[in-house]
Amino acid sequence: MTPIALSVNGRKIQALVEPRTHLADFLREHCRLTGTHLGCEHGVCGACTVLIDDEPARSCLTYAVQCDGLAVQTIESFDGDPIMQELRTAFSREHGLQCGFCTPGMLIAARDIVRRLPDADARRIRVELSGNLCRCTGYLGIVNAVESVIAARASKPTAVAPMAAAPPRAPLQAFAPTSEVARALA
């Protein structure tokens, strides 16, 4: 057993854990924070998504021992968070959840999109949400919810300016390639 000390939802937690206990099981069984769900335990479905040091991560692929000294945030901790509040309202309005199992992970991923990609359109939102599977909604309600939150925030003056487009450039000129590369690869 290995001693760890980490912050979970702002609270300092000390525990003895087996190295093989992943963060999701640690949160669910030891901390009794069962909002983080297990949908696959191989990093594809996203139901286990939490924040580790402020960035979304799969808690089924992170072992609790790796989180010693780090700060973990789960779905239970976002009550005062403005983006999460807007997302929750939007998810309900747009019918972005049905059975609720994927919802916690989906919300944390969605919040990261709103925060990180304020210009994202529906297509981009779909790409960025690809790491969160839903079997119930067909995704439309979820995408509409995220889109509506982004749109509402874009109309606010504090929105981040979009990244400048790349400058135009000349097409590739023909050249004689060196034989070094080919030789190196031989």
């Binding site: 696959c40 139901a47 309900s92 079997r135």
Partner: protein, 784 residues
């Protein structure tokens, strides 16, 4: 804002899920709880020669012999020729599919239970494996079930007017069409937590199930204890889709542990287990021969259907459900009078077949809709036109079809015409002619279906299943503060019934939605219902809720009249108010009189008080038929074999809409699963019966970029047989997508001479089909 039927109300159940406060079985921990892991068969077919438990841990490991008093799961029907299979909770003498549970291990944590399972030694005498249903059907010596004389669960034969109608038909189209085996993949797998309660002397079983009352009956039956000793509580369920509408052997095993050891035990299915033991649906093969006239009007249909039934028949619905539904639903929404159908349900060394959203309708729709398009191509007409001409017309409703199904109401043709308009067929045909700059080929497809929903006693009793659905009941109770509690025996696994049933209660009683609480899932507190499956719940439970509420109204009036010292005949009930000629009292006043100040009650007050349990059955329970037309546009990349859905429209009619938002959600979710069936999902097996897609690395579930923004348009043709004219609709979305997508792709590839007929449409299958078509049109070449 309106809160009753038709209101687009946000769901009450959202609040807890948005905050991560859902309550799934895997979230529950009871003091002294142990975790269970199963040792599952690594081979597909074999006799168990020896099992050696890990030394020192014998009392933590259980095999079949230890569960002596538990009966094998046997699911009977009275259908002639149906063969019984014994599905033991832990493998008995033989294993019949990879993943079949052989032993269960108990430990303080799941990880330790898995450690234990790895230490069990099992020796097998391997037997030849049957992975192909056609081969298994013809197989003369190898038997999945040794007491059978073949490997066929059931053969159904149906015929009506075939010879006469087929005779002399100028157009004959024959096709072989197949759907791959797949899994249902709810995000939450099956899960069960059981404990013995000393105070009530009951087994308390928390199960992730769609059908708590059925599980209760099944557990009691197979454990050999009284029904009264079992209480099943289904909490939040993370998706079901049919996977959770049967008694699971794991539920039986874990319940037995709790019964025997009087401690809590829990089992949670993990994803690999689900993809292996849940590879149990959709696998049908069709040979269809359609006889039509020169306009494409269908005259007669001949079908030979093979269903790969897997190793065991599940309880209570039995594997016979699938062939029965295939035979009965193949004719679809079409008007033709000649039909002949032979359906074989074959036993193989794979997990036993289960009814996945849409059941056989997805397969039959796929098969027939592809044939309709083939007929259209043969007669040189647009597929949608041929489809239109064959659809039952609104003026023929109600219509008794060639399979003796009674279509209650609907305008199938109008839905198709609307779908054509909304997809804008003409614009796409124009664009198709112009060609795409990126070289992709555009295709447009249509598919129509009708869906039997909320069918009940008269239909199921013909099958002689161990449990026949009958009268669903609901209990309604006014609380002392004038609110309403509604209890029903159905159970939500995403359908939002905590909201929609409240909407129906509001419709009748006028009580504010915020003051209506719907409680589901607990056999100890809810009245009996066979549960949520077959798109029945809103009709059955909704009708029962309406009936129960209606029974209360006269009681409100009687007490209210007495409180106002006026004649009952002068009373009116409206929106929670009992209104007299001069004044009114609220329902709250009435409730307080009954509960808190009984001295104010009339001396002849109805002793039923403010609570009623009433049942419901539709006027005619042969089914309320929802229906839809789907239309889709695809772009096919013939270089890599990719299919992109550019637009997708659904025009659906499920009668009176209770909550349009919920209906859309169900339709979208079902359609997403249908797209998965069409393009992505497959559970292949190698010749040794080894499953080849046991993780999400190999089993592809569609994500947000694979599912388009589907546009839905509603029609509402009420059913004449149900309360408020509501029809069920939960499965419909999953029925048409494979048909519509394949029709669209075949439309795109028509110029290449390609016609695809097997799901899923993987890039490899697409490219190979294009290659084959090229090869067949090229002159023979000498190869070096």
């Amino acid at each position: 804002m309106t809160q009753g039927i038709g209101a687009r109300i946000q769901r009450k159940e959202d609040a807890r899920h948005l905050h991560g406060r859902g309550n799934f079985v895997s979230d529950m921990i009871l003091p002294g709880q142990s975790e269970v892991a199963f040792l599952r068969s690594p081979i597909a077919h074999g006799r168990i020669r020896r099992i050696v438990k890990p030394p020192g841990a014998e009392n933590q490991v259980f095999i079949r012999a230890n569960l002596g008093d538990v009966a094998a799961i046997v699911a009977p029907t009275t259908v002639p020729g149906y063969k019984l299979s014994e599905w033991h909770p832990l493998a008995h003498e033989k294993v019949r599919f990879v993943g079949e549970a052989i032993a269960m291990c108990v430990a303080p944590t799941r990880a330790e239970a898995e450690d234990l399972s790895e230490q069990i030694e099992v020796e097998f005498d391997e037997l030849p494996v049957l992975v192909d249903a056609q081969a298994a059907r013809m197989e003369s010596t190898v038997r999945v079930h040794e007491q059978w004389n073949d490997n066929v669960f059931l053969t159904l034969n149906y015929e009506s007017g075939f010879e006469a109608k087929a005779k002399g038909a100028p157009v004959v189209i024959q096709r072989e069409i197949a759907l791959a085996r797949q899994a249902m993949v709810p995000m939450e797998g099956k899960a069960v937590l059981a404990r013995w309660d000393d105070r009530t002397e009951q087994l308390l079983v928390y199960a992730s199930t769609q059908v708590p009352h059925i599980i209760r009956i099944g557990l009691a039956q197979f454990l050999g204890i009284d029904q009264g000793q079992v209480r099943v509580i289904s909490p939040d369920v993370g998706g079901g889709f049919g996977y959770k509408c049967i008694l699971q052997p794991e539920e039986l095993c874990v319940a037995w542990l709790a019964l025997k050891f009087r401690q809590p035990f829990r089992y949670v299915e993990d994803r690999r287990e689900h993809l292996v033991v849940g590879a149990n649906s959709r696998q049908h093969q069709y040979r269809l021969t359609a006889h039509a006239d020169e306009r494409g009007r269908l005259l007669a249909l001949d079908a030979d259907i093979t269903i790969d039934g897997g190793a065991y028949s599940a309880w209570p619905f039995t594997v016979a459900l699938e062939p029965g539904q295939a035979t009965g639903n193949l004719p679809g929404p079409y008007d033709f009078r000649g039909y002949r159908c032979r359906t074989h349900c074959v036993a193989t060394n794979k997990p036993g077949f289960l009814p996945y959203r849409g059941v056989a309708r997805t397969g039959v729709c796929f098969a027939l809709e592809l044939v309709i398009d083939a007929i259209a191509r043969a007669v040189g007409r647009e597929p949608w036109e041929v489809r239109h001409d064959n659809l039952v017309s609104a003026t023929d409703m109600p219509y008794d079809n060639v399979a003796r199904k009674h279509y209650d109401s609907g305008d199938y043709r109008k839905a198709l015409i609307l779908a054509r308009e909304k997809i804008d067929l003409d614009a796409w045909r124009e664009r198709q002619r112009r060609g795409e700059r990126d070289g992709r080929l555009i295709g447009i497809g249509f598919a129509s279906y009708c869906e039997q929903t909320a069918h009940g006693t008269s239909v199921f009793s013909g099958w002689g299943l161990p449990i026949i659905p009958g009268y669903d009941q609901a209990t309604v109770r006014v609380t002392p503060d004038g609110g309403l509690e509604v209890r029903a025996g159905v159970h939500s696994h995403g359908q939002g019934m905590e909201t929609t049933l409240a909407q129906i209660a509001h419709e009748v009683t006028g009580i504010e939605l915020a003051n209506i609480r719907v409680l589901l899932g607990d056999t100890g507190t809810t009245p009996y219902s066979t549960g949520t499956y077959a798109s029945r719940s809103i009709v059955m439970a909704g009708g029962a809720v309406a009936n129960a509420c209606k029974v209360l109204i006269p009681r409100f009036l009687a007490i209210g009249a007495h409180l106002m010292q006026a004649a009952v005949a002068t009373m009116k009930y409206e929106n929670g108010q009992i209104i007299g000629p001069r004044k009114s009292v609220s329902l709250r006043d009435v409730a307080e009189a009954w509960y808190l100040r009984p001295q104010e009650l009339p001396p002849d007050v109805d002793l039923g008080g403010l609570e009623a349990t009433v049942g419901f059955r539709p006027k005619r329970d042969t089914g309320a038929f929802s229906y839809a037309s789907h239309a889709a546009v695809v772009a096919v990349d013939t270089e890599v074999g990719a299919v992109e859905i550019l637009d997708y429209v659904i025009v659906e009619d499920c009668g009176t809409l209770v909550n349009p938002m919920v209906v859309e959600g169900q339709t979208l979710g079902g359609a997403a699963q249908g797209i998965g069936t069409a393009l992505y999902e497959e559970s292949p097996f190698d010749p040794n019966g080894q499953p080849l897609a046991s993780t999400f690395a190999d089993y592809l579930l569609p994500g947000p970029t694979e599912i388009p923004a589907i546009r839905i348009h509603h029609m509402q043709t009420p059913s004449p047989y149900t309360e408020f004219g509501i029809k069920g609709m939960g499965e419909g979305g999953a029925i048409a997508p494979p048909a519509v997508i394949f029709n669209a792709v075949n439309d795109a590839l028509r110029s290449l001479g390609v016609e695809l007929t097997e799901t899923p449409l993987t890039p490899r299958r697409l490219l190979e089909a294009i290659d084959r078509a090229k090869a067949s049109t090229q002159p023979r070449m000498e190869t070096a």
